[in-house]
Amino acid sequence: MFDFKGFSMQWYRELFHDTRMLIIVLNTIIVALLSALFSTIFGMLGALAIYNAKKRQTKNMLLSLNNVLIVSPDVIIGASFLILFTIAGVKLGFYSVLLSHIAFSIPIVVLMVLPKLMEMSPSLIDAARDLGANSWDVLTKVIIPFISPGIFAGFFMALTYSLDDFSVTFFVTGNGFSTLSVEIYSLARRGISLNINALSALLFLVTLLLVVIYHFITLRNNKASGLGVQKR
């Protein structure tokens, strides 16, 4: 829609003077990081609970409850949260957004961790027990190291889900708190300014940088650990 006239840094400068937009960007990142963190912890515990469930029926029930949040549409989840928060008297804002993001990320983490648990040979645990490990040792020294790739994957899935979620967030923001997706959407009526283009360019560069760094870290780790023998 805009005619290209030449290169300039004008919109980047304007972006950094727009404190409101910067606050919103920070909000978005903070919510993404924290919700991913909490949902990873809870999701991991949830996966362990499902794995350890004795009865087959309980296991299936827990798993289908977990899937309910995955199959229900975002808009429904968002509207339900809005109703829940207003009934419970939770003020819409940072905490309502954080809580709802944690809630919709947990099932994703569970689904990322569970296959890893299923993959693990039960004799591994038997061996650990046999060699004198108590339950805590089994959990921290055998199970978690084994499933940690799943945990990391879950964390990053939760992070991306939270970063790009619009529909749930849309319902539960309020009182001056907003995230990037909601803010950009509300600019639609008057046309989106080039600030947003500048911001998108920056975000893209940052993500690209993170991916490159991640690539080098894994490269180094692979070298260090030699022939697939896990070091602790």
């Binding site: 805009f2 404190t19 920070l26 600019l187 639609a188």
Partner: protein
């Protein structure tokens, strides 16, 4: 396990650092502390300098929040859990909000600047006596067209759209009220007409427009017209001025048979916390100088008569966006026709969309 803990710890530290930066930014804006006013407005619909000026003059810090549709805004206010002090809904939404008891009546004695508003825009059907609302911006619905693509041909009325030369050139908006209203207007009926005969006649007339219609679209109409994908499009004056600034060849016209006139209005929702501050804000925005500055930034038409004298002559004299009283008399506000009639409008519009010769 150690690696995992380290990783989680890093995340916690990073988010704590970000939270601190954020809190710093927030307090530098003065958002923490009690004396605040939350304004709920359309995105980018106010001059940010005016917010700064208001903060300086009154010492009240403004929290600015945005919405993208009247319906979304109403839901947020209806649900509660928020404390908006000012909201800016469009005309038909005000009727709904009053019905649901979502608005607080205005205290006119605290709004001395309301004398500057043009009498034409006061006491309208959606809010008799301006009990709940003050006009913020107004505009019309009309036709944007590209004279260059039409070989210099001019469009002045709705009926010009039925010209066979315009084959496959017209873009319409995907909205029942607007399109059926166009049909009603072209036959000389009122936009709020609910007479079935008149409506059927309008629908029939619209069906004969179909060969000229290129597409029925949404917001992208602006881009399509600016890029000369089509020569003629139905749109609102605010969007028209934006489209014209992107493509100087385009022109905007309010059809002479009459058309829709719309208002965005300042109201105080029932979620208000700072009612004194809210009145101060409305009065501040009604100040002619401020209204003029705001109109220049946003580019929509201001209902403030005195403000016009502070604005560039060529803007105020532009009959396309500040139509003369003779024409505004023919313009109508959409009235709430009730569920049944609206459903009938939608049904007719659906039939029109599916119509094929």
């Amino acid at each position: 396990m150690k690696k995992l803990l380290q990783f989680f710890l890093t995340i916690v530290i990073v988010s704590a650092a970000l939270l601190m930066v954020n809190a710093n930014l927030n307090s530098s804006q003065g958002y923490s502390g009690g004396n605040t006013l939350t304004v709920y407005n359309w995105g980018d619909y106010i001059d940010p300098d005016l917010i700064k000026k208001f903060e300086k003059e009154t010492g009240i810090k403004v929290i600015y929040e945005t919405f993208d549709s009247n319906e979304a805004m109403m839901t947020k206010i209806e649900q509660g859990g928020t404390n908006y002090d000012i909201a800016i809904p469009s005309d038909y939404t005000i009727v709904k909000m009053v019905k649901k008891g979502l608005l607080v009546p205005l205290d006119h004695s605290k709004l001395p600047n309301l004398v500057h508003i043009d009498q034409r825009f006061m006491d309208l059907s959606f809010d008799p006596g301006n009990k709940y609302s003050m006009p913020y911006f107004w505009g019309t619905a009309g036709i944007v067209y590209n004279p260059k693509m039409l070989g210099g041909k001019k469009i002045t009325s709705w009926n010009d759209l039925w010209d066979p030369d315009l084959k496959n050139q017209i873009l319409l908006v995907d909205s029942a009220r607007e399109v059926i209203g166009m049909g009603l207007n072209s036959l000389g009926y009122s936009l709020n007409d609910t007479n079935k005969q008149h409506l059927l006649a309008a629908k029939k007339k619209l069906d004969s427009l179909m060969p000229n219609v290129k597409a029925i679209v949404g917001d992208e109409i602006k881009i399509l017209l600016a890029n000369e994908e089509a020569a003629v499009g139905f749109t609102w004056s605010g969007e028209a001025s934006e489209t014209i600034s992107n493509n100087e060849d385009l022109d905007y016209v309010v059809p002479k048979e009459g058309s829709n006139v719309w208002f965005d209005n300042m109201v105080i929702p029932k979620t208000v916390k700072n009612i004194g501050g809210a009145h101060k804000f409305i009065n501040f925005m009604l100040d002619p100088k401020n209204a003029a500055k705001n109109a220049e930034y946003v580019g929509y038409s201001t209902p403030n008569k005195k403000a016009l004298s502070y604005m560039p002559k060529d803007v105020v004299k532009d009959k396309r966006f500040y139509p003369a009283p003779e024409l505004t008399d023919k313009l109508e506000v959409y009235e709430d026709l009730g569920k049944k009639n609206i459903a009938y409008f939608n049904e007719l519009f659906l039939e029109f969309k599916m119509h094929q010769d």
